[in-house]
Symmetry: C2
Subunit: 346 residues, 2 copies
């Protein structure tokens, strides 16, 4: 089969490899129909972080058809149309039961990998996979794109909004205008925020953010951005902050722009040396978030919201590529020529 | 009047100074009847932190009688019996309205000082002071001691439990067996925790903790303590963690002992160089807490709980001193000969 292979920073290519096989009784082999590139994949692609040498590629989001199941799998069968979340909860440990299957206590290997390929091995598939009714051909291309966001970015944006505890009538601040930040805007609106401030430096992303429900765009950087947010919030700060970047500067902005007692929902993978433990303390700011419980959110509400047409997060895919064009897809995302790159397998 | 004077690490003495006077129209002069020494005062006394040279003494907890009021004060009058919280909220900014008057947006000088004296100047007294019905002589000595805890430690312990979101049936872990930690135990019980694990290395404190509602004592230190907590929680970690120390090691223990998705209510003043921003992230642990909204908690529920005899936090005062004995009071607390030192003015 064809698979994307991470060669070095700035270069991902396509090679022929063996099709993955069942290795554990709760494995599921999935024939991938759509995958994509994630903002988190760009850290290694840009050379800002070492690529995990155990992975062929960093892909962790897919839609597909069940090809083969391990002996312990009873929830899906060959031919089923599924969302393959990037998280792999067991569904019954204390973490999963509390709604945090992104950090399942039973599964040490809880994240997907090697999804940028014709087939992927999905470990711990019994509870984590999310079935989609019908067949791919029953859906429009737009709906398929929205379903693909349920493997990660839509659920991750929702996690930012939920852990930031966005309530009806709130002022929500979204830091980050990538696919996750834009899905954070959708989520803040879904939870009833009245004012949604999006920090965005790019016209195309700001425009999509406005379509999704952002009421104000803060396009300044650094301290000027903080000042603008404070102006927009009567100098009190936001009731809820969605931190969708993970950098040191964005985390600092999140803390400073939070109203005393407000929650910051962090979903950007943390990059940065250290935090001052007193910075949140003396303002009673609450620092929350982490890997999203994708399966829980999809099953509870997000799959239905997509199928009902209530939300259309697939719009974050602004360009589509074949698997052979994978390096171009990475490059266009790295150069911000596309917000998120969709890989169409066939 | 007599006042405690911080001279240097390890030495606090008593000197004659001028009685404080009204300096702002929302000042209140209080004749102190009881004050005390706080665990946070010991950082400077032990030489672990510089003493703020602008303060005569670090005292910030008092019970007293209103002696004089500024022209803007309408809520209390000369002769009223009051709790003087260590926090000074305005009661109407976004932070105070959200229940975080410990970090009021309107009052830059939001904390008490110089309370270890015959009289104290309480700034911003209009909303922050808490009236107690009747006169001091209407109450038993035990009840007076419990009322004094409402100036800080009982409200601070409650803040740990509230920000850690202790729910009925929860397993709560309390880190710290000082007065605040012990009030955290009272608070976890008040909020319905079923299992209350107290980390304590001292028999007297552990015994009082058990009286207050602790179901288990973890007396080990460092990693052994973590191991014991994990054993007691089915290896899942606690549903809620009350961090009542503020040191680097105790913060690390709090994070590691929290169930994925659990909240840590931090109320110990943070001491320690830095935190890894990824440590809480990859377990979805929520880091909350800060200076307690003392006035809100007292008015909402804690004063009533004390007056009804539902809680008796005054038991944390295991020894009483005159103001002249202030250095002994500090020393006994520093040497853990008393859990919390009460200063009886007359």
């Amino acid at each position: 089969m064809k698979t994307a292979v991470f060669k070095k920073a700035g270069f991902v290519t396509v090679e022929e490899t063996a099709k993955p096989t069942i290795q554990a009784d709760d494995d599921v082999i999935i024939k991938v129909i759509r995958t994509c590139v994630c903002g988190s994949d760009l850290w290694a692609y840009r050379g800002l972080q070492t690529h995990n040498p155990e992975l062929i590629n960093d892909g962790h989001e897919a839609l597909g058809i069940v090809e083969e199941t391990g002996s312990a799998i009873t929830t899906v069968k060959k031919g089923d149309f599924v969302i393959a979340p990037f998280t792999h909860g067991c569904g019954h440990c204390e973490a999963c039961l509390a709604g945090y299957d992104g950090v399942c206590l039973n599964h040490k290997q809880n994240f997907s990998a090697n999804a940028q390929a014709e087939y992927m091995r999905f470990s711990h598939g019994q509870w984590a996979l999310v079935k989609v009714p019908g067949k791919p051909e029953d859906y429009t291309e737009d709906m398929i794109a929205s379903l693909l966001t349920l493997a990660d970015v839509m659920a991750t944006g929702y996690h930012a909004a939920r852990t930031a505890n966005v309530q009806p009538g709130d002022t929500a601040l979204v830091i980050g205008d990538g696919a996750v930040g834009l899905c954070g805007v959708i989520s803040a609106k879904l939870r009833g925020a009245k004012q949604i401030i999006l920090m965005s430096h790019h016209e195309d992303r700001a425009a999509l953010g406005k379509d999704f429900g952002a009421t104000e765009i803060v396009s300044e950087r650094d301290d000027a951005a903080i000042e603008h947010v404070m102006q927009l919030t009567n100098n009190a700060g936001a009731d809820a902050v969605l931190e969708c970047v993970g950098a040191e500067q964005s985390t600092h902005q999140a803390i400073v722009c939070a109203r005393p007692g407000a929650k910051i929902g962090r979903v950007g993978l943390p990059h940065g040396s250290s935090m001052d433990p007193a910075e949140t303390f003396y303002r009673n700011v609450q620092l929350t978030g982490g890997p999203a419980p994708v399966t829980t959110y999809d099953k509870q509400k997000l799959l239905k919201a997509v199928l009902d047409g209530q939300i259309n997060p697939g719009r974050v895919f602004t360009k589509s590529y074949s698997l052979d064009e994978i390096n171009q897809a990475y490059q266009d995302m790295a150069n911000r020529k596309t917000i998120k790159a969709l890989i169409k397998m066939y």
